[in-house]
């Protein structure tokens, strides 16, 4: 069942720019999003990625009804978001990583109470959800702390609980792991996976962290300069972008550059060598082959950087 439908979406902003040699400022139209078309089915987990200023947040803001599209159509859960914003609000949850929807001066507990009143969630349902999220997100001990005193990771968990207390069908996350440490990121991903599994919540997240996508999303939509450049699996993106992972090998002795099928030695520094191999290939046979022919002291794998993958994608002429 299609839950989100976007057709020929376009949004421009008028900005005033000063031109050289002229004192007057001219109005210039900037296209933040153009010709965007995609569908998301119920229960999908979709990564929405792109460089800074690509139009990710603008898209999320149009999907939630905050911004009115300049042209094109959006249907979310069967309605036009900007025209039915308040009605749609009950069915969606939104987390903006850079800002909080909690009340700065109120303890977390009061923020959650206020949300129950705003959404008019059934009190029993609210209590059950709250108990579950407090447990899963490890928030129990923070309930009486004012939001301004929470750390970034704690606040993010609070925000995610806040966005889910009314049982939304869709959860939009705008950079949910930004600024979080590795452990918090891992826990958050685990939580989001279980949310999708147990409650069938549809997830759409923007992120800079390719590991978020790897851990969560079967599907990736890439946008750049406001327009869609890729829609498909993460493996397909790696293939299109020709992205590579790097195997860092620490050998017992200094030897000549490693020669092995399926990988390319990029760099040698004493006993340490860097081998690159296609990101969608498995590292296991490579490691096995290495171990059988060389004395390996240690190994680690570096994931491709999202910015690199996307840069690669753009530097190639669009396929097909």
């Amino acid at each position: 069942m299609t839950l989100i439908q976007v057709t020929d979406l376009r949004r421009t902003f008028e900005v005033r720019r000063k031109e050289e040699g002229s004192r007057r400022r001219h109005r210039v139209e900037v296209e933040a999003v153009r010709d965007l078309t995609f569908e998301i089915a119920a229960g999908e987990m979709v990564g929405y990625i792109g460089p800074n200023g690509a139009g990710k947040s603008t898209t999320i803001k149009m999907l939630t009804g905050i911004l009115v599209p300049t042209s094109g159509h959006i249907r979310v859960a069967g309605v036009d978001p900007s025209r039915n914003r308040t009605a749609l609000a009950r069915r969606i949850g939104v987390v903006f990583g850079q800002r909080t929807s909690l009340w700065w001066d109120l303890p977390l507990r009061d923020s959650f109470d206020l949300l129950q009143k705003i959404y008019r969630t059934d009190p029993a349902r609210h209590r059950a959800n709250l108990a579950e999220f407090l447990e899963l997100l490890d928030l129990g001990e923070l309930l009486d702390t004012p939001v301004r005193q929470l750390s970034l990771g704690q606040r993010m968990r609070g925000d995610i609980a806040a966005a889910l207390l009314h049982d939304p069908e869709i959860l939009y996350l705008d950079e949910p792991t930004i600024g979080l440490d590795v452990i918090s990121k891992g826990r958050l991903r685990e939580f989001l996976r279980s949310l999708n599994r147990e409650r069938d919540t549809t997830l759409m997240l923007t992120t800079h962290d390719l590991q978020d996508i790897e851990a969560l999303c079967d599907r990736v939509i890439v946008i750049d300069h406001g327009t869609q450049v890729y829609d498909g699996t993460l493996a397909g993106l790696h293939e299109r972008g020709g992205s590579t992972r790097t195997l860092v090998v620490d050998l017992v002795d200094e030897v000549a550059p490693i020669l092995i099928a399926g990988a390319e030695t990029r760099r040698v520094e004493g006993p340490r060598q860097w081998l690159s191999f296609p990101a969608d290939a498995s590292a296991a046979p490579l490691v096995a082959a290495l171990a059988s022919s060389y004395d390996v002291a240690d190994l680690s794998i570096q994931e491709p950087d999202i910015e690199d993958v996307i840069r690669e994608l753009y530097s190639r002429p669009p396929a097909g």
Binding site: S57, K61, G65, S82, A87, V94, Q98, R99, Y119
Partner: protein
């Protein structure tokens, strides 16, 4: 409408409960606010120690005008005063998060950080109004007009607050300019309009109709002829002015929301 009021009440009462965690600060702010607004009238009182009347109106009549406009702005400020902070809410991204909640945006903006201390203005205006009202020669029609005056006056200021705050959808910080009309309008109508040239009175009637907040209905209640010779029908026209202002503010608000550009990120 009822839904909006209920939502306002729910959000507002939670803010009150939260603020009651600090009772000392609540009382200090309340008393401070009461004294600040009260000092205005003391100023007028002192003036009357030196003159017998102002623009042909006695001290008790001016008290009536003062109390009436005071009640109007006090009720409007109590319920929608927060709308002045719209620009700030836009800058900090608060408006974005409010827009994803299932309560009308205006209700959320106005009920945000609702504080009981804003009742201080209402108390102060009520005291002056009640005192001045004891000198009025009351009849039933006059009493009805008095009720209608306070309701219409509140709605006129209410509409002014909202319409002017909407400028902030386009220009981030214009709350000072808006204050010139709201609190400025309140100050102007604390005096009998006979102290102003007739052009200003016409502007306050037909352009920004704050003369309907107290001046015209008060002429009826005090049993005075219109000093500018304007039709006496104006004295009963406050509800019409309020309705027009409300319609304009609803339109401006809607247009503002649809033109909202959010902030980067």
């Amino acid at each position: 409408m009822v839904d909006a009021a209920v939502a306002y009440y729910r959000i507002g009462s939670l803010w009150v409960r939260a603020s009651m965690a600090y009772p000392a600060s609540f009382w200090m702010m309340a008393v401070g606010s009461f004294l600040m607004t009260g000092l205005d009238f003391v100023g007028i009182w002192i003036l009357f120690g030196n003159v017998d009347d102002l623009g042909g109106f006695s001290l008790t009549e001016i008290g009536f005008l003062y109390g009436a406009t005071g009640l109007g702005i006090a009720f409007a400020d109590l319920f929608v005063g927060r709308v002045e902070r719209l620009g700030q809410m836009i800058r900090f991204g608060r408006l974005d998060t409010m827009m994803t909640k299932p309560v009308p945006l205006l209700v959320q903006v106005c009920a945000d950080e609702f504080a009981l201390r804003r009742f201080a203005r209402v108390f102060q205006a009520t005291i002056v109004f009640t005192w001045a009202a004891t000198y009025v020669d009351w009849t039933l029609p006059r009493a009805l007009v008095a009720v209608e005056m306070v309701v219409s006056g509140s709605l006129i200021f209410f509409s002014l607050f909202i319409s002017l705050a909407c400028i902030q959808f386009w220009t981030a910080d214009s709350s000072e300019a808006a204050n010139a009309f709201t609190y400025g309008g309140n100050t102007v109508t604390q005096f009998p309009l006979t102290v102003f040239p007739s052009e200003i009175v016409k502007a306050l009637t037909f352009v920004v109709p704050i003369a309907f907040v107290n001046w015209y209905p008060a002429l009826f209640i005090l049993g005075r002829e219109d000093p500018f010779g304007l039709p006496s029908a104006l004295q009963l026209a406050s509800p019409v002015a309020a309705a027009v202002m409300l319609a304009v503010s609803a339109l401006v608000w809607r247009t503002g929301v649809r033109h909202y550009r959010s902030t980067g990120s």
